[in-house]
Subunit: 355 residues, 2 copies
DNA sequence: CAGACTCCCGGAAACGTTTACAGGAAACAG
DNA sequence: CTGTTTCCTGTAAACGTTTCCGGGAGTCTG
């Protein structure tokens, strides 16, 4: 027995062969016992004992090679520093962990090259599936997506015809919620601090902003519109540029990082929030509630989108023949102090403000 | 040729056998060409062509099984939402990616059970090494650490005798920097909002705070000390409790999340920062600069610690026989508006403040 | 021209696991 | 007592790659 294998040298890690030899059974029996399928009482006892004595732990790689599954799921997002992705990550992680898998996170920096490289690399099967949340979508992307050898779920807008599982939100509607709220509170000089227009969310939010203003018969004043990127520093800089040339009474910001930057710029310039200028962010991240005053924000359901994407992915891994599905999460608005209505006479409302 | 293998069915993914058969060479030759070692010009041409035609991509798992390396490095931190870990992650990711590996991030929630489970799971070799940043360290930890079958580097304080690669900072000294700065600015009623005392950083910072006050002959007023956990909400709540019973003129906070919570509590209660109360955080994360006023914060070199830990890990993976090493990163203080000295008469300084 | 050397190639083993298959023993029915 | 069923076991193949090794052809040297 066991003649095909050399005697185990003392320092190498134990394999199923080690255990089998020590228990005096074949590797097949050892494997069966270790996996809890079959085996006589006596065999089970011997194998368990032998495994415990040598401290056997199965090798995940060999198991993966045999089973053709790695137990890993990848998530690719633009920026792990953005709290919106943190909440997405948490939601995905919960679902993924519940299925006994682990999550592998990639930061793409929004670089298309990175994302397509990642997609191509999927072919080497280091992962059972992937959730991708791109902010720019190119034909390269789509091509790589549809012929990906492992399941991919996309979070975000995608061409209507793309045969890819997809979870999206309606960010145009999201912007509209913010605008409606501000208009209803009597604001008229509503500004907009957006991210890059060549991104999918940037373009959608721009369109949503213009449509929403039009719906309320408020003309768009281009001096009240600024563009940076989706980061804090850019949001602050963009707001400073905007304030240098115009006097908004409200600012809609394309995400919470931008909104925090805008808030900073406003306060530093001596404007009161919300008395002089109301601020509404987007994504409704933890950050929004940390600010003083707390930021109103449009929730785009990032946790919910993450959860659903993870579920779609797991289902597709289980059954790759499933038809492509598309789910949508509705936006909602959380009104907080930064856009609370202020009385006709300007003194601070219930919220206590430093004199 | 190729008689041992069944003819490839059209739908299965190409393997090196497919390529070899198509090119009319052995799998050994095909493998050599694909790895860029050896092969005649003619063979190289044929194999490359065949690989391109069938769209061959090597299987990462099979390669790992053979090479005994997965190309993955794990990072386990308490909370991926804490920006201090984000910057650590970024620094680690940069080093790891430069070595052609990928980073796998685990969130442990600070649970000891999770961390030891993770360490034990290392034995199955799904990863080439791991960086662990525990906030509590038990004997279980140490036991699991020293007998880990794959290299582990710990970020944080560890028993002096533990034979484990370790990157640490001096957080007692960090707290002292904050206290010195505040004392030098004339503050005397210095409060402290800490995390749990049963954590390594919590205990160290508590000790540092008391030692620093003693060094300046300022008695510790226990009413000025509060404990929560290392989160925003806890920091805010702890500060509210503290303010309900005492009037500090400065607050040292055990991390930036707590500091943001403290700032919020102070402003909401109508205190001016820094005129009435100075605030100093720790970790010097991006968050500190996003606040208004910007938060002073003690940098514990999180990015630097991450970078060094990653380098130690890569070196140990390359040569497991290396003796255990220990590196230390010095803290430094970034003074910003939240603790800037204010003139003897109290009106706001150069920093413009809403009237 | 013989021998040594270099280069390239193919066969086969190895990484560590799971599992299809066949054989043997025990239990059971007739 | 024989034939069938059941249960357990071991052999060996398979997952897809890399690599050791031996052999053959070609080249160079003396």
């Amino acid at each position: 027995m066991g003649r095909k294998r050399l005697p185990e040298s003392a320092d190498s890690r134990p394999t199923v062969h080690t255990v089998a030899a020590r228990a005096g059974v074949s590797i097949a029996s050892a494997s069966r016992v270790l996996n809890g399928v079959g085996g006589s009482e006596e065999t089970i006892r011997k194998v368990r004992a032998a495994a415990a004595e040598v401290g056997y732990v199965p090798n995940a790689i060999a198991r993966s090679l045999q089973s053709q599954r790695t137990g890993l799921v990848a998530l690719a997002v633009e920026d792990i520093g953005n709290p919106v992705y943190v909440s997405m990550m948490r939601a995905i992680e919960a679902v993924v962990a519940a299925s006994g898998r682990q999550l592998l996170v990639h930061a793409t920096g929004g670089q298309i090259a990175n994302e397509t490289a990642l997609l191509r690399r999927l072919a080497n099967r280091y992962v059972d599936g992937m959730i991708l949340s791109p902010i720019r979508v190119t034909d390269d992307h789509l091509a790589a997506l549809v012929q990906s050898p492992v399941p991919v779920v996309v979070i975000g807008q995608l061409g209507a015809d793309a045969p890819v599982d997809n979870v999206r939100t309606d960010s145009r509607r999201g912007v509209a919620l913010a605008v409606e709220h501000l208009v209803a509170s009597g604001r008229r000089r509503i500004g907009f601090v957006n991210g890059p227009l060549d991104t999918v969310p940037g373009a959608a939010r721009d369109a949503g902003f213009r449509a929403a203003l039009a719906a309320h018969a408020v003309p768009v004043d281009e001096r009240l519109v600024e563009v940076g990127d989706f980061q804090y520093a850019a949001g602050r800089a963009a707001t400073e540029r905007l304030l240098a040339r115009a006097r908004p009474d409200a600012l809609v910001c394309a995400n919470d990082l931008i909104a925090v930057g805008a808030l900073h710029a406003l306060l530093a310039a001596g404007h009161r929030v919300p008395e002089d200028v109301a601020v509404v962010g987007m994504d409704d991240t933890e950050l929004a509630q940390m600010m003083f005053p707390q930021l109103s924000s449009v929730s785009l359901g990032s946790a919910e989108r993450g959860r659903r994407a993870a579920e779609l992915l797991l289902q597709r891994i289980a059954d790759p023949a499933l038809p492509p599905r598309r789910e949508q999460v509705s936006p909602s608005l959380a009104v907080r102090a930064s856009s609370r209505a202020v009385g006709p006479a300007s003194p601070p409302s219930t919220e206590k403000v430093p004199s």
